[in-house]
Symmetry: C2
Subunit: 368 residues, 2 copies
DNA sequence: TTGTATGCGTTATCAT
DNA sequence: ATGATAACGCATACAA
């Protein structure tokens, strides 16, 4: 076992100093071509990789990136993490996963992570009430990116989707199908994405010249059970009062709707069309399979991490610059404004996935 | 920002030396009571936490544990990870997640992880063909634990379930229900768990005095599509040749069976009972919901990590012992054998979850 | 271009 | 019991 191979050993083996090996390792151009090759040969031959720990200590730049995530059994989270993992695989960073349960004080968890100084940046996935805390840390200079659907936009770098437009498109799809009485099951009011999706829905109706009927807007909580309650309430009405389509603000609630419909013997999409939002794993397997807006979770994870890595590298460089040339204010300013310009809000396109839970309204299909 | 707070600062603030602060930090008993309290006060006041990086460098014991996992979108993996996360939260370790895609050479990934010397132990989840490599590393002295259902037992510490007994119980349940013609859809032959489950099935039949009918044993590959193919083949037979129950070796294949049954208009459980294995997330939501053997994935993750942490701590201590008292062979020997005694194969109990895909055989229900 | 010396934050080995 | 001081493995400013 060559377990204890250090840069010193390589130096000895190559007949040079540690410094030279270090330079070769870090692609420092000031190394003679032949010497460089010789050192690299020794490095390859012995499969030498510098200790990440030691490197971190020496240059104050750990190659570790923290990922703060809700329980991995939550919907969508594994898909996001997969994107994160895929991206990180092609970098020289490693991922430190902080999957937080519901019990502990999230604020303390965050403080600990930061005080341990073990990660040089953090991706926060669905951080919930931690947002303000995160924003504060970011403004203090800590590299931070978030994937969130709850908080209103802040100065924090953010990756997500355009909920308004996506909901608009879903509603537009229903209108194009011929539906005119389109109901909406909203998410909770304290979710910004719920507001946006509602507004996209309302917007599409308005553009179609249809007056939004408040009796067709239901309030849910994003969990299946609230979908069930909405469905029970809706289906207990006079059938003549039913909408012909229901746009549900997320798939989880749509599952509840489908569930109740099946129990009540209500045919979907024949009697009512159902469209969801998210395209979670299960949505292709429900009966009927769910037409829904696909959120590109994996891409979101990848994009978020790419953004974060860029930030960390910048942070690292400007840090050194600031140390060496404290007079170069101009340069720093321009870089800072450049960072401002690089829109910290990245929106990734969604698209509609048409499955079997949606169809033309009954009135029309009968007419054919 | 008190970002750059070091042990040196604490020492100055408390009017002592770094060494003393370090001793307090590590609960070294040789510190005067009053002094200890004073130092501790300063530490608390400033929320000081020693740098994990520096500690790692100094004592060669990084507080990082690696977790090598297949893509998180695989079934069961998020549940295992949740258990891992829950356990690690209550330790002083952090988790470095290596989620490997399908493309790269796993062997190289492993070598890199080990050569980086960034983690002091590794949990390998479903490592596939990496097993022999892992076993080698473990025998070289690297703390390693695995959660696997594919390889035959090795000397590697392992956490899992008793597949034979579990399959026996599932089959026994069907027998108790009154079924006598019970089919089995196996997993692939190169999965050890598939063999074990088949044997448990066969064992239960034998104990019930039933002769195993080879025409009722199907070969699958653990994916939904192979469940579909089995179902198509089975349902195309003369109905009089059908079994009254089908024990499927995992839930994924059972989904395929359910799918085909629905398309063919075959009633489950009225026309045929289906029982799965795993209790994946979807299994409670299928139509009909799936009766299955529940694998305690979360507990498995927790247990595996607990085992690993114990190993790492031992490894660390005995390492120091060996260094300081190389003559104490007796002690080491006994510890070594103790490690051998501590069965490296931990089996966590499963249990049957009865849902709606199973019932009494038709012949009996008609007779009532 | 290359080597030497110092520092990173902590633990551990010496003295005292 | 406590305080200097030398590792730990690497990067880097400085000297050559």
């Amino acid at each position: 076992m060559h377990n204890k191979l250090t840069i010193q050993d390589i130096a000895r083996l190559a007949g040079v100093s540690k410094a030279t090996v270090s330079r070769v390792l870090n692609h420092n151009p000031s190394v003679n071509g032949l010497l460089r090759e010789r050192v690299q040969r020794v490095i390859k031959e012995h499969n030498f990789i510098p200790s990440v720990i030691a490197v971190g200590l020496a240059d104050g730049h750990t190659r570790l990136i923290g990922v703060l995530a809700p329980p991995l059994t939550w919907p969508s989270v594994p898909e996001i993490m997969q994107g994160v993992a895929e991206y990180i695989e092609q970098t020289h960073y490693e991922m430190v996963l902080y999957s937080i349960g519901l019990e502990r004080n999230h604020s303390d968890v965050l403080d600990n992570i930061l005080r341990l100084k073990i990660v040089s940046g953090l991706l926060a996935i669905f951080p919930g009430e931690l947002m303000s805390h995160l924003t504060y840390r970011f403004e203090q200079g800590f590299p931070l990116v978030t994937i969130d659907d709850q908080a209103e936009p802040t100065s924090l770098p953010w990756v997500g989707v355009d909920n308004h437009t996506s909901a608009y498109q879903a509603t537009r799809y229903l209108l194009d199908l011929g539906h005119t009485r389109i109901a909406h099951l909203m998410g909770p009011q304290h979710y910004y994405c719920a507001i946006e999706r509602y507004q996209g829905y309302a917007h599409a109706l308005r553009d179609a010249g249809i007056i939004l009927d408040p009796a067709l807007v239901f309030q849910g909580t994003f969990v299946p059970d609230s979908g069930r309650q909405c469905a029970i309430q809706l289906f207990s009405r006079e059938k003549s009062d039913w909408p012909t389509a229901l746009f549900v603000a997320n798939d989880q609630m749509a599952y509840g709707v489908l569930d109740v419909a099946e129990q009540l013997g209500i045919q979907i999409p024949e009697e009512i069309t159902v469209v969801g939002f998210d395209d979670n794993n299960f949505s292709a397997l429900t009966r009927p399979s769910l037409t829904t807006i696909r959120q590109p979770f994996s891409q979101m994870g990848r994009q978020a991490l790419e953004t974060l890595v860029t930030m960390i590298d910048q942070h690292h460089h400007t840090g050194k610059e600031a140390l060496n040339h404290p007079e170069a204010e101009e340069t720093q300013k321009s870089m800072h404004s450049e960072q401002e310009d690089t829109s910290p809000r990245i929106q990734i396109p969604t698209h509609l996935v048409v499955r079997t839970s949606s169809g033309v309204p009954r009135t029309l299909s009968i007419g054919l």
